[in-house]
């Protein structure tokens, strides 16, 4: 946790009443200038975590540091963070320029100066003509942009974004994602971004923190999160995945001999954080649908299996295939080409040992 970490959470816990633990002793270190995403299903504690960093929610125990300074008990207005809300929280009774200039007004910047700044901000988002309008006269995309620059006017070091694209339709959402990312890179501000949309998290983030049940399941780059998930929760929350439960028979280095009730023994790979597997332990493995080969391609794979083709779905760029290994035990495969086999016929499958990823079920997930 060197000096390049701008926000640090140390065992931060949030309790509501006696029994509800919204955030359970989480540790995070956010690097200066990075785009960090808190990703998880609703109720996983991601928004609460964000609001604690902003100072809008009290911390039950633990510490929050911003620039190595303990801010755990500082009010929001004493922190150099700014928050962008899901519903944008634009002041409905103020004009757009007054909304944007609000932060400066609170700092007692004279009216002319702050309105000039607000207009510059409107130029920046290419909406100079809406200065005098009220928030309810704007479109969703315009509100989103206004909320962004209102948060940026005080030049915060950290911008906290609570599902800022949640209220937009799919097309606008994609457009805004690109815009947000570009702004973040241009301004060099640290973004801490909350979303439940895994695709958004994968495409925008430098690093992703996957949360579940108030705990951090995994914190890594999007690529690592996808390719080397550590827990069953992460594997199934991000992307599609075939989960198989079984027993670790033996362990050699980072390879585990996995005993599957249907497929028998085959090797699987342990990545970071799951080395502690003991022989005899019950584990799960993840097989990404696109890593499984079919037909002739399967012949060169390290692990092979045979099943019956149940369904073929042509999705344009890929073909989705469902293969039954045993009654009630199906595997989903995504292939570039249509299988040679017809539905109801036998089909061979294959994958390499690095594509069978060993998972633990540590954190308080409900899986």
């Amino acid at each position: 946790m060197g000096s390049n970490s701008i926000v640090e959470l140390q065992d931060v816990t949030k309790r509501y009443g006696e029994s509800v633990v919204a955030v359970d002793a989480i540790n995070l270190s956010v690097r200066r200038g990075e785009f960090l995403t808190l990703l998880g299903p609703s109720g996983c504690g991601k928004t609460t975590t964000l609001r604690m960093i902003a100072g809008l929610e009290t911390v039950s125990s633990g510490k929050i540091l911003i620039n190595q300074e303990d801010v755990t008990y500082l009010p929001p207005y004493s922190r150099n963070t700014s928050m962008m809300f899901q519903d944008y929280a634009l002041f409905p009774h103020m004009s757009i320029e007054d909304n944007i200039a609000f932060g400066l007004k609170m700092r007692r910047v004279p009216r002319d100066e702050r309105l000039k700044k607000a207009r510059e901000m409107l130029e920046f988002i290419q909406l100079p003509h809406i200065a005098g309008r009220k928030p309810n006269q704007l479109s969703g995309g315009q509100r989103q942009r206004v909320a962004l620059v209102r948060s940026l006017i005080l030049q915060p070091e950290v911008l906290l974004l609570d599902e800022p694209l949640g209220a937009l339709d799919a097309e606008l959402r994609r457009q805004m994602q690109v815009e947000l990312k570009r702004n973040q890179q241009q301004l060099g501000i640290t973004f801490i971004y909350v979303t439940h949309d895994q695709e958004e998290a994968l495409s925008l983030s430098d690093r992703i923190v996957v949360m579940n049940g108030g705990r951090v399941e995994q914190m890594d780059t999007p690529k690592m999160i996808y390719e080397q998930p550590r827990t069953t929760f992460v594997a199934s929350f991000i992307g599609r995945c075939n989960l198989r439960k079984g027993i670790a028979e033996a362990k050699e280095g980072r390879l585990v001999v996995f005993l599957d009730a249907v497929l028998g023994k085959f090797p699987a790979a342990c990545f970071n954080g799951v080395e502690a597997i003991q022989p005899g332990q019950r584990i799960a493995i993840a097989l990404r649908p696109e890593k499984i080969r079919i037909g002739r391609e399967a012949e060169n794979c390290q692990t092979k299996a045979v099943g019956i083709l149940k369904y073929t779905g042509f999705l344009g760029s890929i073909v989705r295939i469902v293969v039954e290994l045993a009654p009630g035990d199906e595997v989903v495969v995504e292939s570039q080409a249509l299988p040679e086999a017809q539905v109801g016929e036998k089909i061979s499958l294959g994958w390499n040992c690095d594509d069978a990823i060993v998972l633990t079920e540590n954190s308080g997930g409900d899986k």
């Binding site: 902003a54 009010p75 809300f85 519903d87 002041f91 009774h93 609000f102 932060g103 009220k134």
Partner: protein, 303 residues
Amino acid sequence: MASILPLSAGKSNKPQAGGRERRIMGNPWYGLIPAVSYLLFFYLIPVVYLLSRSFKITQGSGIQFAPGLTLANYIEFFTARTNYLAYARSMVISILVVLFASLIAYAVAYTIVFIVPKRYQQMTLLLIIAPFWTSFVIRAFAWQLLLAEAGPVSAFLKQVGVGSLKILNTHVATVIGLTVFGVMMLTLNLYSVMENINPNLLAAAADLGARRWQTFKEVVFPLSRPGLLIGAALTFIISFGDYVVPSLLGGGVRIVLSQAMVGAMTTSFNIPRASTYAMIMLVTILVVTMPILRLSRVGLNTE
């Protein structure tokens, strides 16, 4: 009415709600007939008739009027000191009531919405408006007991060393009685507007550097202003026109406008004079509340 009936017959070719709606929308004015005719016959015509009597003078039994129109009643009103004193009392009492009730109700509503924990909010509000469930008259009598010279309020004031004050049968009691009512009225209005303030707006203000007081000044107050203004207008209307509280608590000596009006009817059965008072009351209320209500709309058209 006939054109509305087939809609409910249900034998239409378009059974969906959309079809029904469109047919009503086609003749938008028919739907207003019941309401408009009700108001016309039971409200507007009697009121206009009554008010028009203010330009007449009685003849004979009192319900017959001399022919022609006259301003004599108005001249009488503006030249007799007792009349404009009554008017001034009504005005001062109403302004004080609106002022006190606004201050108290604002504090009460703010506390309920922003300080009392969510799960107790409904109950607290219920307790505050509970007096609404009893009759206005009963409550006035109850205040008589409380404010009487031998009553608990006097006893308390004597205890704390203020000395014995005469409250009952003065307009101090009138103001107290009407303020209690106004507080309930205003609290209800303020509660509903404050409840609708998105909590994220307060969070956003704090996040952008606003202290608690600034958040109040910049966000909470402007957004609750419509409720305050509408509540104040309603309180003014009730205070200015009320007869029960000034009579039961304020005593019958220094009369207010409503008492003068009732007096014109009960002691001299002078319908034109009573109508004149009513007309003046109506005009005053319109002149005072219309700008207030217009002002409140400034905040209303923003979500």
